[in-house]
């Protein structure tokens, strides 16, 4: 059984490389029973989207000063 700490590490690495099958299955199982890690997974997607948005043309964050 994966720990949450191991699951978060795999979820982060999944942003950079394709996980091996023997990594994918325990992770899927863990996410089914752990809402915290499932939220973490969604947060990783959120970060990627935010970075993409920001780096295409940063919204005028400075204007809100």
């Amino acid at each position: 059984m994966l720990t949450c700490q191991q699951a978060t590490r795999l979820l982060s690495e999944a942003q950079d490389r394709k996980l091996r099958l023997k990594e994918q299955w325990p992770l899927k199982l863990h996410l089914l029973i752990c809402s915290g890690c499932d939220h973490f997974r969604q947060q990783m997607d959120f970060l990627r989207q935010a970075c993409r948005r920001y780096s295409v043309a940063p919204p005028n964050a400075g204007d809100a000063e």
């Binding site: 752990c34 935010a50 780096s55 295409v56 043309a57």
Partner: protein
């Protein structure tokens, strides 16, 4: 020719647009280079390249996107040059302290402490639509340790592939992954605390 479909050079001669654009470019470059002089240089070169461009743009948003693409290439060049002249500091030191910061989020069995369990962040689009969010986002990026932030931004802003970054910075793949993981842990924690406030936890 309509005003909305003009060469880059023309649009960039609008002083107020240029001033805003320059400020945004500079902030983006400083965030990644963490060196004001280098950031100024990159922005200067970017604007010079943009002014001489003959590409036509339908509106300022499209132009801005194009100028940022030029800037990203300049930043990659600057980072590569810096790497060659070996002025980059060792990537080890500022990372070590952080590992413990994140270990405290987990209990001895290495599962989330109830209070530290990641929350549901809701619809990303609704968040991205709020200008204040981007202020917090920048603050959180700025709070990442310098070298951690650099690796993360090479990956997520400049779109470099992880093996290229490792090669570029002479890191082992596993060290590279550790650094990126810490960056993401730091960024998500900061956003959760500063933006997705714990006042309305949705578990």
């Amino acid at each position: 020719m309509s005003a909305n479909d003009s060469p880059a050079g023309d649009a960039l001669r609008d002083p107020s647009f240029l001033a805003d654009l320059r400020r945004d470019l500079l902030r983006f470059a400083e965030l990644q280079l963490r060196d004001q002089a280098a950031a100024e240089d990159a922005v200067q070169e970017t604007l010079a390249a943009a002014l001489s461009g003959q590409d036509r743009f339908a509106g300022q948003a499209a132009l801005k996107t194009w100028v940022f693409a030029i800037l990203k290439n300049k930043i990659v060049d600057t980072l590569r040059r810096r790497q060659r002249t070996a002025t980059i500091t060792s990537l080890v030191p500022d990372d070590d302290e952080q590992e413990d910061d994140f270990a405290v989020l987990f209990n001895p069995g290495r599962h989330w402490n109830p209070a530290d369990r990641p929350q549901h962040w809701g619809d990303p689009e609704a968040t991205f639509a709020q200008q204040q969010f981007w202020v917090v986002f920048e603050v959180c990026l700025t709070r990442l340790p310098e070298n951690t932030a650099r690796v993360f931004m090479m990956r997520e802003f400049l779109g470099l592939e992880t093996p290229d970054i490792c090669l570029e910075l002479a890191l082992t793949p596993s060290h590279c992954h550790v650094i990126l993981h810490r960056a993401r842990m730091g960024l998500r924690l900061c956003l959760e605390q500063r933006w997705f406030t714990p006042e309305n936890p949705i578990c």
